[in-house]
Each structure stands twice: as structure tokens, then as C-alpha cells.
Symmetry: C3
Subunit: 490 residues, 3 copies
């Protein structure tokens, strides 16, 4: 029977009652923040009021059984123990490290709360994260000269010059970089000065931050730390439900380049999530397979601490999101074992390039995890699968995935052979290997089409394997490149 | 814990109880409608029964406090005051104005309920709407000769003729126009005759309507009025929840041409909506930031009346959807200040064309809002942002957006230079500037790719800025056009 | 008011109470299964525990009134009557027919549960399904030599050979076939041997299955039966909600080739589903229009048994998903009346090809339903529409759809004329008509673009009719193909 609006109202009455229950005590400093900001940014403040941070003190959180702990610190500073995790408790931490610290109505406030601050209560999570590719995402792009050429080729303004309509490419501007690649990878946020602003409460002075706002996963913060927690735990609700839902991961991991989100939604796991996910328990720690959720989301397979319905642990939580994966599907330009460290710009392959494999496919083995580590991670992921699938099912699935990865890589090699022929014949200039039309078709082959096939194989998305950026494009693209090389009409 | 079907049943029992509560009294005329149509169109009738229209009388609605009013009329005709807003109350209004009025079992009935009819109870909303680009959407397309060339080039059937396979393009048929552009823009619905139909209740005579059904926002109705309320308040539930959810706006404002919906879903606002929007209060008037919703939807930023949790107003509701926006991201062919009036086909730019700017980018300033009005609207939108964000955050966001808009426009100019070279060299015929292949690549540049970059900048969608119709395509497309010009293989 | 986590907890307490209610008694055999598998695959087992199969015995189900029956069998074997439909009740059926049957801890177990097994309780559903195109989906692709050429052209690995970079295409491998086309169409699952596995409970022997796992709709099962129930009723919850939600159909029927799901989501029906579908009663049988749902999903129009709110039947349930449709929108290469039987690879058209129409558009009339059957099906679908729409509305909608289909077919014919010219001039080799670049553009015309226009017309998706793979691409593509033919630059 269709639920009508009187029912919605009834549910809201229950919700209102819930909100009326006593929250955790608020520190004097935070109360002063709330006095003004409840009026200045009421949505932000109310979001926080619904959060666990507003309803629990660290002392209470420390008292939870180990398996249900959301805090990993054994202890926290006394000043924080007995009060809600409020405005000042976070924005007032480590003031000396923060170049964005400023005087504000008698308090020293940081604009940006960084992982180094969150580490006060969540050290295990921050330490795991800090070793991951995510935490290094800024440098992995900005400090890798090959990738930087791709950024310029994609994002730089192009002018048409002269009688022959020559294309003149500028380097990508700071602005377009921040809106495109570095929106996900994170920007370098620095204090460039201060300025005075007339506010409703009189003149105030604020620091000026470059490349701000940004919530990229590898952001360089004004305290020098790397990374950001807000992309997955957005301001200021810190909702576990948000972090566990695929829409969060899907802000960055989506088609055409990293179609993980899209493939998930089209998979059977996604089908079940979209159909009956409203009945999952999104907040339980640990996350109990079958009882709390029927089919996994991104978080379930890649990072959550999972348990059986009776509470017996299956796998431990990890904030190093690659900890359960062995092969890197994302081809640069082909798939390869996961790097040993999250810092990938230090890699040097046999061609001397900072890439995990040569264009011909030879892995930079010294920088990548070895067979034993690959096997160990595959075993860990298999434990996740075994929550619902038999061993034979899982083995069959991974065997099919391996076959798809190998074939997708072959299709990339074919495209590389064609672009290499164009370079050799001076039909294209390898100076920047990513800017000309024929080069861009090569980029599409590995970045869009082969990735689609590989991610589809990993998670079971038949259309991304076939018609939606998959094999249909892998094969058509080779014919398109080949026709261009032979000047066959087009 | 996964919610099982017994719970669903329990919730339905509550819902059933809710439906049993007394609805508003129904007029005799409407009761006669219901007697037959409850059987003939039971879904339609039941949808209405769950609506506020079926549960409230105008007299009750008029008694609500101002801030909570959903009706803007100060008074309504006596006959309507004390009864539910039922079939005849809407379909029986203004019979003389309606060319689609017909005799039906002793009553004079209009097939189409128009904004002029809804105006009886909602005059402020209809008047605001009537001045908007939406209400003029039919004429803005149909009466603009430049855009009409685009419609023909896109939607006209093409035949292959002769030994040389010449392409012969027909004008777009009425049918394809109604299914494509005018599905959103609205059709011209006219009475073309009457016909007799054998029904279960005997022979009846009905008017024949051209281009019907249609629910485009700028529909020309049989009473001569412009617009339609049903696209956003669909039949016959008139649900505020539907109007406030992004899927409604997303029927027309979606990629590749107007990727507002897609960018929203990929933004942090969309991420939060998709993750925890099930807990929002979708029905409260005014809409209280933080309390009723955690992150905005399209409606929150662009039209809803917003308040702080304590009820203090932030911005007033407007049914002129452009009232809080100053720049028109949608480039024709480049971005420009919003037009002064919703009727854009009357614009004449410096080239004599009915476009808001010349192809070279010079705005038709006399037809566009001035700097003061732009600043005023930006200030209004900034109030919305301030619900959750600090002033520095908001300023940083808009500065980044301005930079992105400027660069996207530069990339359009580059494409315009290339297509202009093709026209000059007689490689393409400017007669219809939108039909040939090279011209279509130019259209893609401004209509698909530059729009994606601009909308992504406005709402924070990193992938639409980059790989999904964004910069990757903006730059590749210039190389593709340039290669074609130089006959470089392709 | 935003629902906070304490409310979520409250709801979970209610849910927990619901789960505590007595389930159906479990057979001894199934209890033995549960004893181990509750630990080995706890998610799978818990999913089943929430299912109707775990909570109802066939005897109880047989006692339901006819209109509410979910079982179609008049009787079931005595051993099954009084116990829950558990592990052994399904995996132990028809052991002699199952080549995948194996000895497992004293029981004879089938790995794969097939439609022939489900038929024990659901004969009407299985018999309807067995005649449908879905049940024949494996053979319709694998046994059709024309389509098999398309599979090879799309999915086969291509190598670049020699100094002239010749493209050498291999046949599509078993692996890539299983991950792409046959992921939806279904694979042929055969027992290729057995192997011993060390498990936590000692060494066990399991059959080895080829092309497994797979859940395609036309799967060939180890008992020789065709089809699979799990694609729509996924393991092991057998949730009606999942089957009725569009995300299930959308795993296979999605853009770019069959954009039914995408068009639905963008339609007004989809808009309403996405906005207020959370309030539908997804479990009621029959499905009552207006009362249980406000706007239809795929299942509502194409297969569900529908009733009026008072229970009066509108249309009967059918598991032959084509039973209410008369025209096949999916163009191969143009639209045509539905085939008489689900087995389409037996068709022979006037050109001698196993296609429902010639490339020139002449239908293989002897294999397709006649005018009377088409009219009968249209009348049946019109009853569905009449749940909410008047007869004039419905007629107007279908007339517009017919016009769009005819025009889309004309646009396919134009592309066919261009590719035929390429073949005639030896610019392309018709040997495999789907592999070369110009041929692939022809495939795009009918498989991606014309399909988008037709599905958009059928369900009201304005963007898929226009810019999203619709008319914009239909017309641009002809110019692209024409330019190639004339070697005009590209």
C-alpha cells in the first residue's frame, strides 16, 4: 500500500522524539562556536548535531567492546575525554602545526581539519590511510612527469593561431587542474596571506587559502599532512551510512576512466543494493554479512571489518583501500600487480619511465608486490566472497577475471603498436604522447575501454564488458586507428 | 539488521490506518467523476486520493500561518472553499477559455488543466513561472529561426539518393519534434476536431488534440496559456517530495547537453542525497536547512523557500527558476549573463542573430541582465550556500567557477575558429550551420563538452569536468577538427 | 526532519522482533545443510532465512486464495508439503537428470538449481518462461551464424601484424564470450570432470563446471534445461521486491544497445518511481494499481498480474515477458512484429538469413505474429495503461510511438544504403559485415541510435530520443559515413 504523507509525518514525530534525547555534554569553547555558527551556518551545525560526534564522548566510545570500536586510540587527552567531539575539539587541535591557524574571537582556530588532527582519536585508520595510494594521490599525479603531460594535454587551453589554424596548447591552469584531476586527487592547500572581512559581527581577519575549497583524497593540508577524511566522511555528519554507500566512492571511481561505481551498480551486487539496500543496517560495527547487508557495497569488499551474524570476525577493517587487492586493474597502460607503496611516482620501469610497467607490458617488478603477497591478498578477498559464495564459485569468478584482464591487455598492446607506428612514421609527435588525435585514441584504449572490460570482469558488469565502453569499443577503436594510419578515407 | 517482509507488512498496516483517516469533503460534481473513473482509471484516482488536494480544503489551507502556506491566493471562489480540490474543481475551471472543453455526462469538462486554471489558488507561483524561460520554452525554440535550423538538422529524416549517395535532409516532422526537443520544451496543443468513441458507458464524444499527450514546461495549452505544472507536480498526486527530488528536474536537465542532473548526482551534495536522503523531511514548508535536509537538491538551491531550523527565513520561494542565478552556463555558443526576460527569441545580437551573444562571444547586452542585477542574484544564491558553508568557502567556489567558465568559452572560440575556416574554404556549407559532420563537432564543443565543464564547475562534479564529456573531449575535439581541416588521414 | 541514527536503531529493533517470529519447520536434510553452511556461507544462509521460502511451507502457500497465489502447482510431492523450501528441497530435486549431481556428506546434491527444478512448485511460470525469447537466449545467439559473426567481430582479440600493421582478428574466446554477450544470454554449463578439494571439513569431491558461475537468462543447465530464475530472483532471498524493481531488468536491458532501463529512469514513470517508490508495497500479489504503486516499473507493464484497488483483475501475470508486446523495437536491423516463438535462430528471411527482416526491411512474415495477434497484444497492454490514463491519451501515445519507429527505421535504411555502397565499391569487405570501421558505424546506427529513439518513444524518454544516443547521433552518423565514402577529409 502506498505510504501517504500522514505516515511521513508520523515517522517525523518519532524522529523528533529521537532528536530530543540527551546528547553528549558540549565544551565551553564549542558552545561559544555554536552560539554564533548555529545562526551563521545552521545546516552545518545541525548536520553535526545528528552525528555520533555530537552524541558520544570519547570516554563512552572507549568503553565499547573491541569488536564494536569505532575509535582506535587507546586513550585521548583528558580535555577531550568527557565532552562531545565538537567544533573546537577538532578545529582547535595542533595549532602550531597549522599555517591556517588564526585568531578568532579569543580562540586559535584551524580552517582545515586534517588527518593529522583526526589521528588524535583514530590513529589506526589514519596510519593505514597514510600508506595508501589515496594519501599519495596529489604527488602521484603532480610529481610524475609522464602523468603531468597527460594533465596538460587534457586540461590546457588551446588557441587556434595563424592562417593554417595551428593549435597552440598552453599548460593546464591552476584553476582547471583544481577542478579536474586534482578535484579527486587533492590540491595543495597553502596559506597565501590574510584578509579582513566585514561580517555581521564586525570586521574579522581570515587566512587566504589557495586551491580551496577542495576535498580530494590526497590533499596537501596547511599543516603539511597528506590526505582528507571528508571525501568519504563528509562534513559534519561523519555518517557511516554515507561512507558505506557506493555513491561516495562513485564520486571519483566512475566511468569512463575508472568505472568501478558504474560496474557495481550494473552488477548483481548493485542490483540487490539498489532494490533492498533500504533495509540494510548501515551503522553496525562490525558489519555482519547477511544480517546487516544482503549484498556487498564497495566498502564491504574493500575496507569494512566484516563478521558473521554471530559476531565471529571474517576480515579486519582497513583504511588502506588496496589492502585486499592484488592486481591493479587500472591500466597504465596495462594491468599489473599492486605497487608496494602508495607512493607510485617513485617507480622507474625498464624504459626509465615512472610507470608501473613499460608500454610493452613489462612490469617494474621491484616496485610491485610479489607473488606471495598477491596470493595473500587474494586469500583475504576470497574470505569476503565466501560470506555468500562457495569456493568453486569464487575460483571460477577469479579465473574468468584473469582471462579478461589478459585479453584486455592484448588489445592495449595492439593499440600501442599502432600509435608507435604513427610515431615512427612521423605521423604524430611523441613529444607529448597524449595530445594528438591518434594518441588520444590510444589513451581511450587503455584508459576507457580496457579499464571498462577489466572492472566489468572483476565485479560482473556485462554491459561494460560489451557495449558500454567495453569490447565493442576496444575492437572498433583498433580499426579506427588502423584506417587513419592507412589514410583509408578517414 | 536486514528488514524483512513482515516489517514491510507492519508498515503497511500503519499506512492503511493513515489512509483511513477522514479526507476532505468531496463536491457532488467530483463525486460523480469518481463514481466512474475510480473504475476506469483506478490508479489515477488513487494517486489523487493520497494527495494533499484530496485531504485539504482551500479554506483549511488559507488558515495556515504565512510561512507554511502552500496556496498564495488570498481568497478563492466560494464554491471551492469548503471541498477537496477534486476532479471537477480543476477540470471544470474557466470553460469558456478552453477550446478543449466538451460536454461529458451533463458537465462541461476541460481535458487539459492549465497554469491559468491552477492560478485560481496559486497565483504567485503561476505569475512567477509565466515570466520564466520555462514558460516561454516553446516559442524560444519554435520561433527562433537559428535554433529551428538545429532542430531540422538533428531530427529530420535523411534519405540517401542517387549514384553518389547524396544525403537529402527533410524538415523535422511534427512527430519527431514532439518526441525530442518539444517533449521538454512543450508542444502546441490544439483542438483539431471531435470524435465519437464507444466506451463501456455508451458512445461518447471527445475533442481531438494535436501533439497530445505532452508535458513539456512551455506547452501551449488549448486555453491559450503557456506552460504546464505537471512536469514537476505530476498527475495526480501533486507531491512536494517529487518536485523537490532531483529526478524530476533530471528528466530534461541531463547529459550530454544540460548535465545538471548528472553533475549533481556526482557532486558531494548528490552523494549525500543518495546516501541519506531517505531521512529528509520532503514535505515541510518552509524547507529548513539541516533540520529537514542535510544537503541540497536542485529545488533547494534554485527555487524552494528556505528557512533556518528555528523558522527564520533565508530565501523566499520562487517559481521563476532563474531568479537566483546570474550567469547562463548553457552556452549558445558561449556563456553569458541571464536574459532579462524569459522570452529569448526576441533577442538580437550584434550579428543580427536571435542569440544571446555573437559566435565571437560579444553579449547582446541590451537583452541581458546588468552587473547590478547579476550581483544581486549572486548575493541571493550566496545566502543559500551560507546555510552550510562559510563566506570564504563560497567565494572560493565561485571564483573557481568563473575561471572554468572563461576557459570553457575559450575552448569554444577555438572550435568556432576551425568551423569558420571550413566555411571560408568551402569545405562546409554555412546554409544550415548545424548539419554537416564538421559542424556537428563544433556543436558538440559548445553543447556537450563546454556545458559539461561549466556545470561541473558550478556544482562540483569532477568527472564531468574531466573525462565524462569534459576537458578530455574539449581538447580531443579540437585536434579531431584540425586533422579534418588539414586532411590528415582522417 | 532528518532521521537520525537512534531512529535507525529503533527500526532495527522492530525488525529484529519481526525476524524472531516463527519460521516454517525445516527438514532434517536441510538442517544438516544449515549446520555447516551457516558457518561456511553465512550471508547466503541468512539471505535465505529472510525469504518467503524459509517462512512458508508449500501446504500453507497452497491454502491462499487464487488471486494471491505465488505458487501455481495444484499439488506438490508429500515430502515437500509441510516443510520450509530449504537447501535440500531445491538442491536435491531430480538428481538423475542432473549431471552436476554429486555425493556430499551422505546426500546427493545438485550444484545448479534449474527451472526444471523450480517447476515442481511453479509450473505455470516455468512453462511460460520456457517459450519466451529469454529461455532461448543462448541458442538465439550461439546458433545464429549472423549474430555469431557479430560476437567474433566485437569480442575477438586483434593482433597487429607485419610492417603494414595488418589487423588479425581471432575468434572470440570462450572466456570473453562468457563475460560479454553470454553473461546476459546465458552460457552452456557442462560438467567437465570432478576434483578433490581440501576443506575445513576434510577432503571433498566436487564436479567441475564449465562457464560457471553464470546467471544468464537462457543458460543451458547441467540437467539439459534452458534458462535461469536467479537473474530476476537472486540467491537466496527470492525477493519479489527485487524482481519488481527496474534495477533487476536493468542489468541487461540498458544503454547503449537496449536502453530500456535508462529510458525508464528518465521517463515520468521512472521519475515517480525514483521519488516515491520507497512508499510502494512491493510484495502484494496481485499488484494493485494506485494502491500498491503509483507509477509502473518494468515488471508492472510487462509481466505482473495487476488488479484494481478493490482486487478486480486487470491483466494476468505472465513469465513470457513478450506476451504484452506486439512490435519488437530492438532492430535487427529494423523493428518488426514479435516472433511467433522465442526460438528466433530458426527464422529465415527473404535473403535466406536467420534474421526477422531483410536488411532492406522486408519482414520474415511467416515467422512473425500476424496483425490479429498484434492487435490482441496491444489491447492487453492498453489495459495496463488504462490503469491511470484515458483512452485518448493512450492512443495518442501509441500513434507517436509508431511514427518514431517508422522514422528510426528510415534512418537505418539510409545507413544500410551507405554501407552497401562501401561493400559494392570494395571499400569494405562484407565477409564479416560487422568488423570494419565503416561497418561498425552502421551497427551503431541500428543497435545504439535507432534503438534509443524507439525505446525513448515507447516509454517517454526525451533525452534518449534527442541528444543521448538519439536523433543527434542518427543524423551525425550518416554525415560521418558519407564523408568517409567520399574521402572528404575524414
Amino acid at each position: 500500500m502506498v505510504r501517504t504523507w500522514p505516515i511521513a509525518i508520523a515517522l517525523n514525530l518519532i524522529a523528533a522524539a529521537a532528536i530530543a534525547e540527551p546528547a553528549a555534554p558540549v565544551s565551553d569553547a564549542t558552545q561559544e562556536c555554536l552560539d554564533c555558527h548555529s545562526d551563521a551556518q545552521p545546516g552545518l551545525v545541525h548536520d553535526w548535531k545528528t552525528s555520533r560526534h555530537a552524541r558520544t564522548t570519547p570516554a563512552q566510545a572507549l568503553g565499547r567492546p573491541d569488536a564494536e570500536r569505532r575509535m582506535s586510540a587507546a586513550q585521548v587527552p583528558d580535555a577531550l575525554r568527557g565532552v562531545a567531539v565538537g567544533c573546537f575539539e577538532c578545529h582547535g587541535l595542533n595549532p602550531k602545526a597549522h599555517k591556517d591557524n588564526f585568531e578568532h574571537n579569543g580562540y586559535r582556530i584551524n580552517v582545515v581539519v586534517s588527518p593529522a588532527d583526526c589521528r588524535t582519536c583514530h590513529p589506526t585508520e589514519v596510519d593505514q590511510y597514510s600508506g595508501s595510494k589515496k594519501a599519495h594521490a596529489w604527488g602521484n599525479l603532480a610529481l610524475n612527469p609522464v602523468y603531468s603531460m597527460l594533465v596538460d594535454a587534457v586540461d590546457g587551453v588551446i588557441e587556434v593561431r595563424g592562417r593554417k589554424q595551428r593549435l597552440a596548447q598552453k599548460p593546464a591552469s591552476q584553476a582547471s587542474r583544481a577542478q579536474t584531476c586534482f578535484a579527486c586527487h587533492g590540491t595543495k592547500v597553502e596559506v597565501t596571506g590574510t584578509r579582513k572581512v566585514d561580517t555581521d559581527d564586525g570586521e574579522m581577519t581570515f587566512p587566504i587559502l589557495s586551491n580551496w575549497p577542495n576535498q580530494g583524497v590526497g590533499r596537501i593540508n596547511p599543516d603539511g599532512s597528506r590526505g582528507a577524511c571528508t571525501p568519504c566522511h563528509p562534513r559534519h555528519g561523519f555518517s557511516l551510512e554515507v561512507a558505506r554507500k557506493p555513491h561516495t566512492c562513485g564520486q571519483c571511481h566512475l566511468e569512463p576512466d575508472v568505472p568501478a561505481y558504474n560496474v557495481f551498480l550494473e552488477s548483481k551486487h548493485g542490483n540487490i543494493y539498489e532494490s533492498v539496500g533500504h533495509g540494510y543496517d548501515w551503522d553496525h560495527v562490525p558489519w555482519r554479512v547477511g544480517l546487516d547487508f544482503r549484498a556487498p557495497t564497495c566498502a564491504a569488499c574493500h575496507m569494512a571489518g566484516l563478521a558473521k551474524p554471530d559476531g565471529e570476525a571474517i576480515v579486519a577493517r582497513s583504511h588502506d583501500f588496496g589492502a585486499r587487492i592484488w592486481v591493479r586493474l587500472f591500466g597504465l597502460v596495462v594491468s599489473h600487480p599492486q605497487p608496494k607503496t602508495g607512493q607510485t611516482h617513485i617507480i622507474k620501469n625498464a624504459d626509465g619511465l615512472p610507470l608501473p610497467a613499460t608500454f610493452a607490458g613489462k612490469p617494474a617488478a621491484g616496485f610491485l608486490i610479489d607473488d606471495a603477497e598477491q596470493a595473500s591478498r587474494k586469500a583475504e578477498m576470497s574470505k569476503v566472497c565466501a560470506g555468500c559464495h562457495t569456493g568453486r564459485w569464487v575460483e571460477g569468478h577469479f579465473a574468468a577475471m584473469d582471462a579478461a584482464i589478459a585479453e584486455a591487455d592484448q588489445m592495449v598492446h595492439a593499440a600501442t603498436a599502432l600509435v608507435a607506428a604513427a610515431w615512427k612514421r612521423k605521423r604524430a609527435d611523441k613529444g607529448n604522447p597524449f595530445d594528438e588525435w591518434i594518441e588520444r585514441q590510444w589513451v581511450r584504449q587503455w584508459l576507457f575501454y580496457a579499464n571498462s572490460v577489466r572492472y566489468a570482469a572483476a565485479m560482473g558488469g556485462p554491459d561494460y564488458a560489451t557495449f558500454k565502453n567495453g569490447w565493442f569499443y576496444l575492437s572498433e577503436n583498433l580499426h579506427k586507428m588502423r584506417d587513419w594510419l592507412s589514410k583509408k578515407g578517414r
